[in-house]
């Protein structure tokens, strides 16, 4: 790794079109990477994900990405941003689709949002993120972002739980610890707010 460059992990889980558009707009250079050995060549890694978290974890594990991500992030200080299911995979486990373990960067479990509080699922649309100190939110006065999901990380009051969102129940919407970042929302389709957050990840993290 000599210069700043970005890998988007390509494991055929969901739409990366919008993400590519956003990075193009920010003039961030990126490559789609499907070979787990290659991610150490990059300073920044994005782990996207849409659909079933269990299926996503299975694919990551089978392809060897789980081990290579751990190595790159925990031993080689590569910066990683997980988006939506990509963030959920950073937890200890998910109960979606019969259940699965996660990569385990955080001890939190990913659980289905509670419907009995009178909500509709999926949780879809822009919602607010409550943050205190967070590099990702540097310079952002508006903190509304686009969510579309039915499962989320449980709050445990960890100091890395950098963003909390309320949908008649609180869940972790942003994680941030040293070189590890995750957002439950989709910054790439969250208007200017999301572009600024993505820019922060590349320039300030």
């Amino acid at each position: 790794m000599t210069t700043s460059s970005t890998a988007i992990i390509d494991y055929k889980m969901g739409n990366i079109w919008s993400l590519k558009n956003a990075l193009d707009n920010l003039k961030i250079k990126y490559q789609l990477v499907s070979d787990p050995e290659k991610i150490n060549d990059f300073s920044h890694i994005i782990l996207p994900g849409v659909g079933s978290a269990r299926e996503a974890y299975n694919r990551l594990e089978k392809s060897g990405f789980v081990e290579s991500i751990k190595e790159a992030v925990l031993h080689k200080e590569r910066k990683i941003l997980g988006i939506c299911v990509g963030m959920q995979l950073m937890g200890a486990s998910t109960e979606e689709d019969g259940g699965s373990k996660g990569i385990g960067f955080f001890k939190n479990k990913v659980v289905k949002l509670k419907e009995n509080v009178g909500i509709k699922l999926p949780h879809v649309g822009f919602n607010n993120v409550q943050t205190n100190e967070s590099v990702l939110f540097d310079g952002l006065k508006q903190k509304d972002f686009y969510f579309v999901h039915s499962y989320a990380m449980e709050c445990t009051n960890g100091d890395y739980e950098a963003g909390i969102t309320d949908y008649k129940q609180k869940f972790v919407s942003v994680v941030e610890r040293e070189n590890i970042f995750g957002t439950q929302f989709h910054p790439e389709i969250s208007q200017k707010n999301g572009l600024i957050l993505l820019d922060n990840f590349f320039k300030k993290c």
Binding site: G14, N15, W17, S18, N21, A22, D24, N25, V50, G51, S52, E115, K120, L121, P122, H123, V124, G125, F126, N127, N128, L140, K141, Q142, D144, Y146, F147, V148, H149, S150, D166, Y167, H186, E188, I189, S190, Q191, K192, N193, G194, L195, I196
Partner: protein
Amino acid sequence: MLKKRIIFTLHYDKGFFNLSRNFRLQKIGDLNWLLKNYNFLKIAESIDELIIIDVSRDNREHDKFLENVSEITKNIFVPVCLGGGIRTLEYAKKLFESGADKINLNTSLFHDPSLVDEISKTYGAQAIIGHIDFRKKENDYHVYTNNGAKEFSKIDTAFMEKILELNFGELLLHSMDKDGTGMNFDYEIMKFLPQNNKKPLIFSGGAGNYHHLKEGLAHKDIDAVSTANLLNFVGDGLINARKVMLDEKYPLAKWE
């Protein structure tokens, strides 16, 4: 708190963007017109979501549609939903690979419900909007498919319950009678929705001015309103409407 959404819908037909009035199409302009003259990218900074539907009545040209979509969406940073003529998993896949965050299913919802399962298995239910075109006939409401050309069924609560059991994420109700008229949404259709409906609801057809959008957004059971009228919110129309609504504390997202 979850915000409500203003959605813009574009009706595409063989190279042109159209005004639809009771499902009769009027060509307004091509891609160049949309981006240059209409300044759509500016308007897109004031919407929460974009739906683009290929409403071609015959021989849809999928590749040309997707070329247009790609030109529109590369500088727009909101969720994009694509629809029109989705009959197979292969075409749905193509749409997801060409920029769709979601797809809009209408005719297949009724004629091939197994397609909903197939698509949701791969992409998740949250990636599918179930779209119902309805029209009032005497005192009853009926569902139409195939761009409004075929009557499918009378609507009652049991019918709605059955449709809502399908594995899609959001329900879009579009009034064909109000389509393009600017005469306000048809709220009467709400009486057929089951009390325990858990799917987010998008209301569409008839929004002629920002008062209509406000009334829709204020309704407790409606999560998003859609306008497809290229001429009602021309210029700064929608941008100003959003500003006014934010000033009046309507629950809409705020952006930098």
